[in-house]
């Protein structure tokens, strides 16, 4: 009986934990405007994420299953190949730590110390389909692991799963000082041969921004994910064979809300953002602080040489 209770508790705890890193959500991915031709940017974004509550399949918070801390560094390069087509490549590195009762451990990294690893790479292409009062930019993306990282335990680094994503960003102005943009995407997760789960997920976010003073843009946003299949947190009657490596298969849905400020400059942008999970199923209650540094290059006009003087009529 005691052993059974431990197994169930392990499920409840573990079914939630891997999703923290698997989804390590950016503040917002909405991007309705594509980087123009010849322009680009190199960005480094850091996220400090802390979670003290595990959220059940019914949305109930449980504070008794330890707490996770994550430090994420995401490096991204964006380049405008044409005036309508841009490409993006990003790579995530993260460090995870779990602190809790020893009986709630369920992975080799749950030692109470930080462990680090490179995680996933993401390659995307974005096309500026519509420009004007409303801007539309569809995109396609591939994401997948770059190392054979650990997927077990509270301190798991992620799902270790390939995904193809189709989506679009939409945005425009709301007056002279404000803008909005929104993003929707559908991710096709690769099938796990031995399991019957459909781990596809739908993501969406919306962002409002307003220019304040000479240098700052203040933004607020909400971002969410919806899944309709996968393991659910709680008493388990099947799929017990996934106990040791279940984090990859959890059905997680969440809504995060946050805001922040950006300082936009001709060559460098700096931003600080915070967000928190406001509702979730089979997930974690996250609180995060995100910083970003972006160095931009290109963007000059194309100057052509003078034409030869036309011959004069005699």
């Amino acid at each position: 009986m005691r052993a059974h209770a431990t197994v169930l508790r392990g499920w409840v705890a573990a079914a939630l934990t891997g999703l923290v890193v698997a989804n390590h959500p950016a503040p917002a991915q909405a991007q309705a405007w594509v980087t123009p031709r010849g322009e680009g940017a190199v960005s480094v974004m850091t996220q400090g994420i802390r979670s003290t509550d595990h959220i059940s399949r019914t949305g109930q918070a449980n504070p008794n299953l330890g707490r996770e801390s994550l430090a994420v560094v995401n490096a991204e390069v964006v380049y405008g190949a044409t005036d309508r087509l841009s490409v993006e490549v990003s790579l995530a590195w993260l460090a995870t730590k779990w602190v809790g009762r020893i009986q709630d451990r369920h992975g080799p990294l749950d030692t109470g110390a930080f462990h680090g690893s490179f995680q996933d790479i993401r390659i995307a292409a974005r096309y500026q389909l519509v420009e004007g009062p409303v801007n539309v930019a569809p995109f396609i993306a591939y994401g997948g692991p770059v190392t054979d990282y650990e997927t077990r335990g509270h301190s798991a680094f992620g799902r270790h799963m390939e995904e193809f994503t189709l989506g679009a960003g939409v945005g425009g102005r709301l007056g002279r000082r404000t803008y909005w943009q929104s993003n929707g995407s559908y991710a096709f997760a690769n099938d796990i041969d031995t399991e019957d789960f459909n781990l596809d997920h739908l993501n969406g976010d919306i962002e409002l921004g307003i220019a304040v003073g000479q240098r700052w843009t203040v933004r607020g946003f909400g971002s969410g994910q919806w899944m309709w299949d996968g393991l659910k947190v709680g008493p388990i009657t099947d799929h017990l064979h996934l106990l040791s490596n279940h984090d990859r298969f959890t059905q997680s849905s969440f809504l995060n809300v946050g805001g922040g400020v950006y300082s936009l400059n001709p060559r460098m942008d700096v931003g600080v953002t915070a967000f928190a999970t406001t509702s979730a199923r089979n997930f974690h209650a996250l609180k995060a602080v995100v910083t970003s540094l972006t160095w931009k290059f290109g963007g000059g006009f194309q100057i052509v040489p003078p034409l030869p003087e036309a011959p004069r009529n005699r």
Binding site: Q31, A32, W33, V34, T35, P36, E39, G40, A41, T46, G48, A71, V78, D83, S86, E131, G132, N135, G171, R173, R176, R177, Y179, Q181, E207, G209, A211, G213, Q214, R215, W216, T217, R219, Y262, S263, L264, N265, P266, M268, D269, V270, G271, V272, T291, L293, T294, K296, G299, G300, F301, Q302, I303, V304, P305, P306, L307, A310
Partner: protein, 169 residues
């Protein structure tokens, strides 16, 4: 972590308080540009005539009109005085972009045009004398080759803001 946080905060504050070298339309960088990666949307969409006779500075900027249109302006390129006169006679022109060599003529024509368009000089590798000449025409200008497209667009937004304010009075 504390050290990293302090470093980021220092960079953030230094950036926020850095001396601004593009003073004219600089604030429109914040307004006109999307948060990430720089595509600019005009805060004051305008009707703009680019006066680009053969080998003039505006004529040598291959993507000038396209950049204006992408930002949301209505831009027309004219290459001779007759076409300029016809465009100005339409009565809907807000701004004329011109090289310094043509500026005197353009300023004179603008004064008699129905919409009284404002002038934005376009300078290429300008000397101190060129800068002074441009300053005499307008506080806002496009200075090439070094100026970022977004900076040029923010100059135009600033000029339009001044024009709107003057018309409101």
């Amino acid at each position: 972590m504390r050290t990293t946080g302090s470093l980021l905060l220092t960079v953030l504050l230094a950036t926020a308080w850095a001396v601004d070298l593009t003073a004219c339309g600089d604030k429109f960088l914040r307004i006109g540009r999307s948060v990430r990666y720089g595509r600019y949307a005009a805060a004051y969409p305008a009707s703009i005539v680019v006066y680009g006779p053969r080998n003039s500075v505006p004529a040598r900027v291959a993507d000038l009109a396209a950049t204006l249109k992408r930002a949301g302006h209505r831009a027309v390129v004219v290459t001779n005085a007759a076409a300029l006169a016809a465009a100005l006679a339409s009565g809907s022109v807000d701004l004329v972009l011109t090289g310094l060599a043509q500026a005197e003529d353009v300023v004179a024509r603008a004064k008699t045009a129905p919409s009284r368009p404002d002038i934005v000089p376009v300078i290429f590798e300008g000397s101190a004398a060129d800068e002074q000449a441009a300053e005499a025409i307008s506080t806002c200008r496009i200075a090439l080759p070094g100026q970022h497209r977004n900076d040029a667009l923010s100059e135009i937004d600033h000029k339009m803001e001044l024009r709107s304010a003057a018309r409101a009075r």
